[in-house]
Symmetry: C2
Amino acid sequence: MALLLYFMYFLLYTMQTASDIVIFQIINNELCVLAVQRATPPFEGWRCLPGGMIKEDETALQAAIRVLHKETWIRNHYLEEFGTFSDVKRDPRGRVISLAFFAILTSGSVLTPWVTQKSVMFFPLKQIPKLVFDHHEVLKIAYQKLREKALNGDILPYFLPKYFTLWQLQKVYELLLWTKTDKRNFRKEIGKKYALKSTGKKEFNVPHRPAILYKFS
Amino acid sequence: MALLLYFMYFLLYTMQTASDIVIFQIINNELCVLAVQRATPPFEGWRCLPGGMIKEDETALQAAIRVLHKETWIRNHYLEEFGTFSDVKRDPRGRVISLAFFAILTSGSVLTPWVTQKSVMFFPLKQIPKLVFDHHEVLKIAYQKLREKALNGDILPYFLPKYFTLWQLQKVYELLLWTKTDKRNFRKEIGKKYALKSTGKKEFNVPHRPAILYKFS
DNA sequence: TTAATAGTGTCTGTTAGACACTATTGT
DNA sequence: ACAATAGTGTCTAACAGACACTATTAA
């Protein structure tokens, strides 16, 4: 009996660690975030960020990759850990510490059929529904980190397809940082920070002078 | 019996989460790190960074504060999380994910009597003994973060007592970044970044013109 | 008075940021 | 030709970084 109680104690109080992911994508010139609808208790039917418990045989990063792949079918995203959340009461099931990642999807990525269905959907950052657990806090900090990274210019190309114009790159920068930038100055700056390679190719089917396509190396 | 096995399974495979701390202090103009000697298996007798499992009722930060206080008797250090370590085999006891913090101690802090004894000792960064687990990796990344922070100037005053001279501050900067800096330029820079307040007081018992003592606000 | 370190200003080359016109394509 | 966007250089004000002398204290 004592053993059973001890077992129950372990069952109830086992500490678990989860990877949660804030998945960003620019859709229709708006920064969006993926939120899923919970299918099981607790908070059944409510929305939260995608995530999952870390398994015995995987690192936090591997768990994040697994969750990301499950929700989107895409591999090889930009994926980076940005913080941990360890409040004692953040999960009603018991003690769950969360390692939080943010991911960036290329605009126009072809995703699983169930993304854009109600249960797995991108929401513009300004129209996020109520999220359960402490996921509003997680999202807030993810967004801060994203903007910091965008300032350096580090992550901009990850929002864009393999070939992109400098103008597209600038628009991503402006969207993330809520700012307007001079075209010539922007190009001087990124010329220092990146090794962008001109592919020689051009846009086509545009009703104006086509821009040169660049790629990131 | 099946229950017992299941219990054993839980015991063996329970995932635990620990807070490990890299405690920096400048001693005799050298950047030093605290390493403790393990008193229990595994790796009994070997050295590692101080750390401890996170308890049911505390956050990662609270666990870090607890460990830090246990080792040094000091509270209210600078303490910041800088990364997580989740390799599957990083701890032979089982699955332990570690949340890593770095702490900064004021030069000349009065510490527990057992610091400087063999079992709990500061080591110059260049003369660290072999550390078990993956603690060399943890230390390496902590040091990188420390240097990043020092570049901004954010953390310099935490290495110094409450009242300090600008020259001391500069020496901390140079020590952390392996660099020599012009005195006048350094003072111009920190004048922008910090609100340092002159206390009006001066050094005493120095065989030269005494410097003004500043404090950090 | 000497030894030792504190404290302070200027000059220059580089950089960030404002700013406007010509080039190339589709229709 | 016209509509629409691509692409490109200069000027200026601010800043970072090199540099050397006078001031103040203890002995």
